[in-house]
Structure formats: structure tokens, C-alpha cells
């Protein structure tokens, strides 16, 4: 299963390609279930961080994860990218591989799960010793073995799309936080993953830089990328999310559409949390 059959039928401006008849997954329609998480659990020592998480992600949809600090959002995201090994539960990709964490995962299985998605980190984690262009082409050239000229052309096109064409030859330290994060997004996009994962991509940014990054993410969503986003940006969630998942204490308390979630949350905990982030001074 390669990353290249991702997002077929999705707009295509950000480099998503269609490969007719390549794999079963490429016949999927927007809105079909892309993967299903069932009973995901994870402990760090005695601390059970995830207690049976269920999550359904549909192709081309944006899922926003919200919840109090320590509720396990990052751990869910990291598990999806195989940066964390859960102790139990399953992840099943429609027309693709499935993973059962009650059995121990060997390296190739972990790599296969990892290859379904790409992560955009809170602290961007760009490679400081590589230029912007090299950061973006590192995966395509050295992992996916894309011909160099093609990888560079694609990277340049992606950088132009996020307004960073003129920054291709500078080092990350020469960029603003917002620009760094946009490069981080492009680095993930260049891999053409089936799923883009974002862990609080704007929470380390100065407020005036948040908009640029969210705008890029909204464009990606409009183009039909499948995204799982941990964020507390309610405006973004309202405008872009197809489902909002509220987590607390290692469980999913509720999952629903943004309008349902923000206007009429079912759980008291959800309401309290939303009150607090919408109205931090408690007025």
C-alpha cells in the first residue's frame, strides 16, 4: 500500500493524484469510511491514558479532536501515526490494512500503519540543517524514491501554494513561526498520505500568525484531504470540521457535527469545557 493512491478524486491542487484502477482504496468516494478505530487503549506505567477509544474517520472529512489537557488527544494522534504503540484495540482501513494492538506489532506493521498518515507537529520539528526545499523533498526523494526533478517540482508547487516559493533555499531558523508551520504542513503533504494529522498546529504561534496556518488547513480541507486535527480553535472547527470529537479522561465523551457540539453538547463535561474555552474569563 503506497501513499500515492491517497486522495484520488480530491480536488488535486495540493498534489493529490488520481490513479484510476490502481487500488481498491482509490475507488472510494468522499464520505466513505476511511478507517475505524475501535477500543484503542494505552497506558504509561500505571496511568491509563486511553481507555477504549472509538473513532470513525471518513474519506475527505475533517475530524477535530478537543478536550482538556491530558485527556489523551495527542496520544490518539500519535497512535494513528504509530509514534506510540497502543496496548489494545484495532484500526481498520477500508480496502486497506488493519492493525490489532492486542498482538504486539512488528516493525513492518508499525511502518505500514505509519505510512497511512503524516503528522504535523505542534513544534513543527523541521530539520534545522536542511533548507526549506530539502525539508519538503527529504521524504519523497529519500524514502519514496521519487525522481529528484519530479520531487523538487512538486515541492516548489506546494511551497508556492502556501506563499513560500521565495523561501525555498533558506533554513528554517530564518522563517517566522507561521512560515515554519506552513513548511511543516507542506512536508507532510509532499508524502501524499491518506490522512493528515495535526497536533495543535497553531498553539505555539503568535496570535497574528495563526490565521495564515488555519487558512492553509481550510484550503486542504476544501480540496478533500482527510484530516484529523487536535485544536481548540473553535472558529476553525465550526467552519471546517465535519465532526468534532470531545475527549475527556481517555475516553470519547461525544462525537457530533460542529453545530450540534457547539450549540447543544450532550454532556455536562463538554459544556463546561466549551464554556471555558469560549468564555475564558467566565463572564
Amino acid at each position: 500500500m503506497s501513499r500515492n493512491d491517497a486522495n484520488s478524486g480530491a480536488g488535486g491542487n495540493f498534489g493529490s493524484q488520481s490513479q484510476p484502477g490502481a487500488m481498491k482504496r482509490s475507488d472510494m468516494n468522499q464520505g466513505d469510511v476511511l478507517f475505524d478505530v475501535k477500543g484503542l487503549s494505552k497506558s504509561f506505567g500505571d496511568l491509563q491514558v486511553l481507555k477504549s477509544i472509538d473513532l470513525t474517520v471518513r474519506k475527505g472529512q475533517v475530524s477535530v479532536l478537543m478536550g482538556p489537557s491530558g485527556s489523551g488527544k495527542t496520544t490518539v494522534l500519535r497512535s494513528l501515526n504509530s509514534l506510540e504503540s497502543p496496548d489494545g484495540g484495532t484500526i481498520t482501513f477500508t480496502g486497506g490494512p488493519s492493525f490489532d494492538f492486542s498482538k504486539s506489532q512488528k516493525k513492518p506493521e508499525r511502518a505500514l500503519l505509519r505510512d497511512q498518515s503524516a503528522m504535523v507537529f505542534q513544534q513543527h520539528n523541521l530539520f534545522p540543517h536542511r533548507t526549506v526545499l530539502e525539508n519538503v523533498t527529504e521524504g519523497p526523494i529519500h524514502v519514496q524514491k521519487t525522481p529528484k526533478a519530479q520531487a523538487i517540482a512538486e515541492a516548489e508547487a506546494l511551497l508556492a501554494r502556501v506563499g513560500l516559493a521565495d523561501k525555498r533555499d533558506v533554513y528554517p531558523f530564518q522563517l517566522s513561526g507561521g512560515q515554519q508551520q506552513r513548511v511543516g504542513i507542506v512536508r507532510a503533504l509532499a508524502l501524499k498520505p491518506d490522512v493528515l494529522l495535526f497536533d495543535e498546529p497553531t498553539s505555539a504561534l503568535d496570535p497574528e500568525l495563526v490565521g495564515d496556518v488555519l487558512a492553509v488547513m481550510k484550503e486542504l480541507a476544501d480540496e478533500g484531504w482527510t484530516m484529523v486535527v487536535v485544536t481548540h480553535e473553535v472558529t476553525f472547527a465550526r467552519a471546517v470540521a465535519d465532526q468534532v470529537v470531545f475527549m475527556d479522561g481517555g475516553v470519547v465523551l461525544e462525537a457530533s457535527t460542529p453545530s450540534q457540539m457547539f450549540s447543544n453538547p450532550r454532556h455536562r463535561r463538554t459544556r463546561q469545557f466549551l464554556d471555558r474555552i469560549l468564555n475564558p474569563l467566565g463572564e
Binding site: 509514534l83 505509519r114 536542511r130 527529504e138 531558523f173
Partner: protein, 221 residues
Amino acid sequence: MSDNAQLFLDSLWPIVEGAIKGTIPLALISFSLGLIIALIVALMRLSKSKVLSALARIYISIIRGTPLLVQLFVIFYGMPSVGITLDPWPSAIIAFSLNVGGYAAEVIRAAILSVPRGQWEAGYTIGMSQTQQLGRVILPQAARVSVPPLSNTFISLVKDSSLASLILVTETFRVSQEIAAFSQEFMLLYIEAALVYWVISTFLAFGQSMLEERLDRYVSK
């Protein structure tokens, strides 16, 4: 010209030749091999395997806990009694490489640990194997922080290589000793040898700062 000045000039070339044919290649070869040993030992030390990590720890402890001169003598004068007789050059290279390996291993280990964990994860998320993460992401960044301490190790090695004179390797110091014994001008010849070491060390320090500057191009000043 005074006799001393004449002796100085006459002995300069043989001593410099001792540096070119002895000290410098001895240091370069030993340092290169030593770095390879050091990288392997550092990775053993960092590995999850308790056995590998313990072996690495013992090795480092022995190298750092015993005098280099004793290590040199064990290999050259000691090994023949267990049936292994080595010539001066191989003995010196083995002793110095193992020595550098022990010291540089800790430098490299610390440098690898100084690279944030997020860098490993960024390499992982874009699909890299562990070897690629190490070779393309971690080591290039570790190199930057380890250049100053490794340069010190290298400069120390150049000076410590004079110990090889005691196992009959023809190098800078041994040449000057021989001329001193012959001419009885000890002060002059030993100062001349010191001068040669000093010039080499100064060049190396200069090379170090050029290298540091080059590796610093991607960090904010």
C-alpha cells in the same frame, strides 16, 4: 652563522619529515578509526540491549581509567607474551584508535542525546528507517555540537602520539631525540620538536573554527 643556528636548520627538515611521515599520518589514521569505534560504542551504549550497553560501558571505563602509555605498552610489549607480536606502527595505531574510541564515544553519545526527540519523530513520520533517521537527521545535527570536543580530542591525540616514540615509531619526537643524543644539544632539539607540535596544533585549531563556522550556517546567531 652560529653552530646552534646551523644545527637548528640542519635538524629542521628531519624533524618535520618525522611529522609528515610519522605524527600526522599516525594521528589521522588513528583518529578516523577511533571515530568509527566511537560511533559504534556510542550506539551500543544507547541501545536498548543491556548487554551491549554494559559492554560499551566497560570498554569506556577501561580506556578512560588507564594511562595511554600503559595501553600502548600492553599492546606492543605485553601482547608478544600471549603470542601476538605486532610491529610498532600497527601497535601504535591500535592503541591510539582504541583510546580515541573510548573518549569520543562519550562525546558522540552526548551529542546524539542533545538532538531533540522530535527530530527522530519527524524522520519517522516521513517514513525513514532507523538508519536513515540516524544518518540523515540525527548525526548531522550531532556533528555540529561534537566538533569542539572532538577537535580537542584530535589535538590531544597529535600531542599524545609522541608517546609512540617509546615503542620505536619514527615520528617527530623520536627524530629529535635521536639528533639530540647525537649532538648533545637537548634544549635546542626538544624546543624544536615542541615548535613543530605547536605549529600543527595551531593549524588544527584554525581548521576547527572554519569547520564550526560551516556547520553553524543553519542556526540563528
